[in-house]
């Protein structure tokens, strides 16, 4: 049997995602697309008055890596502040593109299993799609561009 990258944590997040649904009352939502491979997810984030991410979900199509990565990200950022979420995203992206310390990897919890993507250039875009989309949501929010996306992809 070949040494497969698709371990149980990854396949479980793909087949039985916890956070894959459309959120009706999201504070922000934004679609992220990888045009070349067709991964397409909408990320929904609800932030409360205390600046805490109360709820995060995603919906869309894509390969197991894109789906599991988005699900693990939602797991990780719920209950965190925007600043904390962005810091974790920075760690994740550095893990995929470069290297991180064992302490940093610990902080990513299950998402740390995607470290091997580092050696799979063709799948980097799949792994980072959800995270990039989150970064963009907060960047747009800061620049006052949120309204443009708010509710746009809810059907």
């Amino acid at each position: 049997m070949a040494n497969t990258f698709y371990n149980e944590i990854l396949t479980d997040h793909n087949i039985h995602p916890t956070h894959k649904y459309k959120m009706e009352d999201a504070t922000f939502s934004l679609e992220g697309v990888n045009p070349s491979c067709g991964d397409d997810v909408v990320l929904y984030i609800k932030v409360n008055d205390e600046n805490t991410i109360e709820e995060a979900s995603f919906f869309g199509d894509g390969c197991a890596i894109s789906q599991a990565s988005a699900d693990m990200m939602c797991d990780l950022i719920i209950g965190k502040s925007k600043e904390e979420a962005l810091r974790l995203s920075d760690i994740f992206l550095r893990m995929i593109k470069d290297t991180i310390t064992p302490e940093e990897k610990e902080e990513l919890e299950e998402a740390g299993i995607l470290e091997d993507i580092h050696h799979m250039p063709a799948r980097v875009k799949c792994a980072v799609l959800g995270w990039h989309t989150m970064d963009q949501i907060f960047k747009d929010a800061e620049e006052g561009k949120v309204d443009k996306y708010d509710g746009k992809f809810e059907q």
Partner: protein
């Protein structure tokens, strides 16, 4: 034909495999629809060209350049004979099928398609036989119509006829679909198009390695194909065009070798086929293509078609036993020409390709440069296994072994 026994097949497999140095057994190559591996004779022909006769063809008045020119023109004759063109003037070397199709759209299209005219293609075209026509029609105010086949890819004569009208000036169509594997009855369609006063352009990129393509028998006006899909190097392709059409078409690219006489005010164009071959040509590529076509001829399409059908049948029969697999196109292996495109329930094509890769089986995942067709098939992307003349039963079994493990590796308990 006498019966092909297991022994005959194995001996033939062995003989053919020896011709392909890259096929060392460490991987299973089933992405022949994308590009093919190269036999030793092709590699040696290219090597020999650069070692012993490289010079700028058709330029220098010295022996080496004359040798280079001769090699180039001999290659053109090999192509002519392979597709049974009437003369070498009708054989233009290009980079690939994409460039050939663009040449037709840019020169014939821009000279002879006008506002209110109609260009007919099909929904199963590769992007390279779609976007050039989209651009042309947009520019000219012409109408682009897509023939929509039956669910399984069939275009009946009656259906084709229903798309013809007095505005239709050009039909451009694939011979074999790079996704469905289905072969279009282009001989009949070309006849109907001609009766309707339209010219017929054929995209032979997928058919040329699998079946005999005789331009006079099919009576097509243009034929485009790539060398690299028929065991030749990348970067050499062919456009066949009927002489009467090529003569009245303006040049495609301008520069050296395509002119007859130049002044500061203008130029007159060189004769066919050089009018369409501006700049220094790919002589090494042409020599490689010639060697590849001779190699294919030495095996012969009778044997190639039998070999490929035998493997397609084996592959499809086994795949049909797995209820979670869905094959696109027709039920019968005869209508697939070595191309088997499919989906697996619950597993994204990119994950399928990645797991095949873990098992050292090379197949293609994605939209296969045919996004409108994917939409027609109600799927964003698929996986394609495509067979070449060197594939064997062992390759198919390795593919099937990996295939059967995929759902399990993705966490499903079947």
């Amino acid at each position: 034909m006498s019966e092909i026994t297991k022994e005959i097949r194995q001996a033939e497999d062995e003989r053919i495999r020896k011709d392909f140095p890259i096929l060392d057994g460490s991987f299973t190559y089933l992405d022949n629809g994308a590009t093919t591996q190269k036999p030793k004779c092709v590699l040696e022909a290219v090597d020999n060209y650069y070692r012993t006769m490289n010079a700028n063809p058709m330029r220098g008045l010295y022996k080496l350049s004359l040798d280079a020119t001769e090699a180039y023109e001999e290659s053109r004759e090999t192509v002519r004979s392979f597709i049974n063109a009437g003369s070498t003037e009708e054989v233009i070397f290009t980079r690939n099928a994409t460039e050939s199709l663009n040449l037709v759209a840019y020169t014939y299209g821009r000279a002879f398609i006008n506002e209110g005219d109609e260009v007919v293609i099909t929904i199963m075209e590769h992007h390279s036989n779609m976007i050039p026509w989209q651009q042309l029609c947009k520019e000219k105010g012409a109408k682009l119509t897509y023939i929509i086949p039956d669910e399984d890819g069939t275009i009946s004569e009656e259906k084709f006829r229903s798309y013809m009208n007095s505005h239709v000036k050009l039909v451009s169509m694939t011979h074999i679909s790079n996704v469905l594997g289905v072969k279009n009855d282009v001989k009949t369609f070309a006849r109907i198009a001609h009766e309707n006063g339209a010219v017929f352009s054929l995209d032979g990129a997928q058919s040329i390695p699998h079946t005999k393509v005789d331009v006079q028998d099919l009576d097509v006006d243009f034929l485009s194909f790539s060398g690299h899909k028929i065991y030749a190097p990348m970067g050499i392709g062919v456009l066949y065009g009927k002489k009467a059409l090529l003569e009245k078409m303006p040049p495609f690219l301008f520069g050296g070798e395509m002119i007859e006489y130049v002044t500061t005010e203008g130029a007159t164009w060189n004769e066919l086929p050089h009018k369409f071959e501006a700049g220094t040509v790919n002589d090494g590529g042409a020599v490689g293509l010639s060697a590849a076509l001779k190699y294919v001829s030495s095996i012969g399409f009778d044997r190639i078609e039998e070999r490929e059908l035998h493997l397609t049948k084996l592959m499809m029969e086994e795949m049909k036993k797995l209820p979670y697999i869905h094959i696109l196109g027709k039920e019968t292996a005869e209508d697939h020409h070595g191309i088997v495109t499919f989906t697996i329930d619950g597993v994204h094509p990119h994950d399928i390709a990645a797991i095949f890769d873990e098992h050292n089986v090379d197949i293609r995942a994605g939209h296969h440069c045919a996004q409108p067709l994917m939409k027609f098939c109600h799927t964003p992307s698929t996986v394609r296994a495509s067979i070449g003349l060197y594939n064997t039963e062992e390759d198919v079994y390795k593919f099937l072994d990996a295939l059967k493990k995929i759902r399990g590796e993705m966490g499903y308990q079947d």
